[in-house]
């Protein structure tokens, strides 16, 4: 009898906690967006009573939401900055990083562009405005249209660190708000150059070889491709074992999760 009551209370508690945490709010990077959306869909299909929402507003906004406590998972395509950590700590939030995937940062041009290859130095000079015509890097006589992500983006930060060497992008650059927008601008502008996550490369745009290395799952995994980075999901503290949040945040470690990451076009962390 006692055991029965105990079991019932336990069941009730479990039900209550499950009922209490039946939503997961995800906010942040547009690069990690497709992964988070696929994971959310996958998780909700198996657990219909959990509502997972994903918004893609840029890594910076993801971090802000985490600091303000308005999201459960901040998806970010760059690590959190010291200032963000401090701001979070001040509010009693401890961001914990989960690396869900690796990503290269392909430099994209229009497929009609005959240029096949650039060096990191050349890309840097293009974005500084020192090289302003495709002629100078072996292409036709056309003014280069540089397109960049907005400064709130993790992709921008990665690019600024790995390619620009923290130098400022030149004045004429066009800033857009998402990876998809980069791809659209490049596919509609023959003289454009841009950069986005690996998962956003399709045949409407052409990824260039950088320093002689083509951005692919293999070259990113081996570290050969020079512009690569991990993609993160941040949670407030490590989620309690067995909770929906815990299950969600560990999907990328399962076989299905790795397959999804790969099928979307990114590089699973566990496939060494």
């Amino acid at each position: 009898m006692k055991i029965q009551i105990l079991a019932m209370t336990a069941a009730a508690t479990v039900a209550a906690t499950a009922g209490a945490s039946d939503k997961i709010v995800i906010d942040g990077s547009t690069t990690v967006g497709p992964i988070a959306k696929a994971f959310a869909e996958y998780y909700m299909a198996a657990n219909p009573d959990v509502n997972i929402t994903v918004s893609e507003s840029g890594s910076g906004n993801g971090a802000k939401s985490m600091v303000n406590g308005t999201c459960d998972v901040a998806i970010m395509s760059r690590p959190m900055k010291e200032t963000e950590f401090k701001a979070a700590a001040d509010k009693g939030i401890q961001p914990v990083a989960h690396v869900v995937s690796l990503d290269g940062l392909p430099i994209l041009v229009h497929p009609s562009n005959p240029v096949q290859e650039l060096t990191v130095e050349q890309v840097r000079k293009i974005y500084l405005g020192e090289i302003s015509n495709w002629k100078e890097v072996g292409g036709p006589d056309k003014a280069i249209v540089t397109i960049s992500r907005d400064t709130n983006s993790g992709t921008y930060e990665t690019f600024a660190k790995l390619v620009m060497n923290k130098e400022k992008i030149g004045g004429k650059c066009e800033y857009v708000g998402s990876n998809g927008a980069i791809r659209q601008r490049v596919q509609s502008t023959p003289a454009a150059i841009g950069y986005a996550g690996l998962g956003f490369v399709d045949k409407t745009v052409k990824a260039l070889k950088i320093n002689g290395i083509y951005p692919s799952a293999e070259t990113v995994q081996t570290g050969e491709y020079p512009v690569a980075r991990p993609l993160f999901m941040y949670t407030d503290g490590y989620p309690k074992l067995g909770t929906p949040l815990y299950q969600f945040i560990t999907i990328h470690l399962t076989e299905d999760g790795q397959e999804m990451v790969e099928e979307i076009g990114f590089v699973p962390v566990t496939a060494y």
């Binding site: 308005t70 036709p140 099928e263």
Partner: protein, 503 residues
């Protein structure tokens, strides 16, 4: 003379008016026609067997017996395709094996000769014989090398084009039979729409390549028929077969997918419908109305009937006018900063926060239109009521408000359409790109997808934009339809009320 001028001016003005109305009508037509035409394709289109498969497997819809019958027919039509691919694969593997065996044989022979030559040297055999053996050995080695080269080029000429072909075929028909079921729903099915099927069929038939031979100009797109790469192999008839039998393999049928509105989306809008977005839009609009109408009408009554004209009131009026001119994104940022971060109406973005923000956005319109409506009520009504001994409160509630109701409703109509279509205020306060449809109590603390935001999201941020244009058009169509319906409803209601008032 002056009369003539006046007449002329009058005519000119009515002419201009007619032109303006004609331009407006044309603009409306130019905007609405493509929306309706393209949007309707999300509801009525030629669906393939794959669409019916999605419906059956993901939404449990359709007659499974009839479907299986159809599936068997399709499978029979597709079988030769897979057989041909398999045969080609086997043939290539066989060829590779033969080449390798030949290479091995030559190598062994060369080794034997080498040993013979070495033995002769040791025993001091004739120089001529040794030279002959060595020459023979070199010849064999060269032959082995050539074979190796051949095997390598086999990969380039047969395997790489073949892999590209298989990828294209998989996009068309979905995973090959016997293949492990992919995890992502988008990879589990082939093309669900006939128009996309034809696009993908074209991709199977021709390979797009860019010709960069002119270094001074941009490349030119060349379409190379894929069949050229497989001339003389078992795959040559494959292409003709595909072209001739695509109908049997996909079985297109005109499909009415009215459930597009009521289905949830699968795999971020690649399959399924837009119910969470529709519901989110309705919640947000109604929520905004619930907050804005009482506040707006009460404010208008106060301003017209109770407030004494003076500095304070004119300051209030300036505030209202200014509020009407504030860009909507500012409302969005304000909503995030005030409702979410400061007073924390919910612990994450939510429909509640979004509705509150939207209600602030439309408040000025409602106040202004209500004010105009109240002021338009003839003074005589009020005077008569007061003269009969009714109090101010009583007069307002029973005489002025009912008389002003049609006018107030006009403002409500206009602002309702605006609230339904606004994107900027809900970006930071309520809208997400993926989420389940909410139950009514969940709107208090959960965010929701909503049509205006998801239209934008689909066309800029989605990773498979070109594949799901029809969903985007369908969303635009639905949003326009919702706004028109809301307006129609309100207009009808207004007509009824004014009729009642007159009667």
């Amino acid at each position: 003379m002056r009369l003539e001028t006046r007449k002329l001016l009058d005519k000119a003005f009515s002419g201009l008016g007619l032109i303006a109305i004609a331009v407006m009508a044309m603009a409306l037509l130019a905007i609405l026609t493509p929306i309706i035409w393209r949007g309707s394709k999300a509801f009525v289109f030629k669906g393939t067997i794959e669409h019916r498969r999605v419906m059956l497997e993901q939404f449990d819809r359709g007659n499974s017996d009839r479907f299986n019958e159809e599936l068997n027919l399709t499978a029979a039509a597709r079988a030769p395709v897979y057989d041909m691919l398999e045969a080609f694969e086997a043939e290539t593997a066989e060829l590779e094996k033969t080449l390798e065996a030949q290479e091995d044989e030559k190598k062994t022979q060369a080794k034997v000769l080498k040993n013979q030559a070495r033995a002769l040297k040791r025993e001091g055999g004739s120089e001529e014989e040794i030279a002959r053996l060595e020459a023979e050995e070199d010849r064999l080695k060269a032959e082995a090398k050539a074979l190796k080269e051949q095997a390598r080029s086999l990969g380039e000429t047969r395997e790489e084009p073949y892999e590209a072909l298989v990828d294209a075929v998989q996009e068309l028909f979905g995973p090959m039979p016997g293949q492990k079921k992919p995890v992502l729903i988008r990879q589990q099915y082939g093309q669900t729409r006939w128009d996309r099927t034809l696009v993908k069929l074209h991709e199977v038939m021709v390979e797009e390549e860019w010709d960069y031979s002119n270094p001074d100009a941009m490349g030119v797109l060349v379409e190379n028929p894929r069949i050229e790469k497989f001339r003389g192999t078992g795959l040559e008839p494959f292409f003709q077969y595909l072209e001739d039998h695509i109908d049997e393999m996909m079985r297109p049928k005109t499909t009415f997918y009215w459930q597009f509105i009521t289905d949830t989306s699968k795999d971020s809008h690649i399959f399924g419908g837009i119910w969470p977005e529709v519901l989110g839009t309705i919640y947000l609009t109604l929520g905004a109305m619930i907050f804005a109408i009482p506040m707006g009408v009460i404010a208008a009554i106060y301003l017209c009937e109770y407030a004494r004209e003076g500095r304070t009131v004119s300051f209030l009026r300036i505030c209202i006018s200014t509020l009407a001119g504030v860009p909507s994104i500012v409302f969005g940022l304000f909503g995030l900063a005030f409702f979410l971060n400061t007073i924390q109406v919910s612990d994450s973005k939510s429909v509640l926060a979004g509705s509150l923000t939207l209600s602030l956005l439309i408040l000025p319109t409602i106040i202004r239109s209500s004010e105009e409506a109240i002021l338009a009520v003839p003074r005589a009504y009020k005077e008569a009521a007061l003269g009969l001994g009714a109090g101010r409160w009583h007069t307002v509630m029973t005489v002025i408000l009912p008389a002003a109701l049609p006018g107030i409703l006009t403002g409500v109509v206009i602002s309702m359409g605006r609230a339904a279509g606004e994107t900027a205020p809900i970006i930071f306060t309520a809208a997400v790109s993926v989420g389940a449809p909410l139950k009514i109590w969940e709107t208090l603390n959960q965010p929701t997808p909503a049509l205006p935001w998801n239209i934008y999201n689909l066309c800029t941020e989605h990773e498979a934009v070109d594949e799901i244009r029809h969903v985007q058009y369908g969303m635009v169509f639905t949003l326009v339809a919702i706004v028109l319906l809301l307006n129609l409803f309100a207009i009808l209601m207004r007509a009824r009320i004014s009729k009642k008032l007159r009667g």
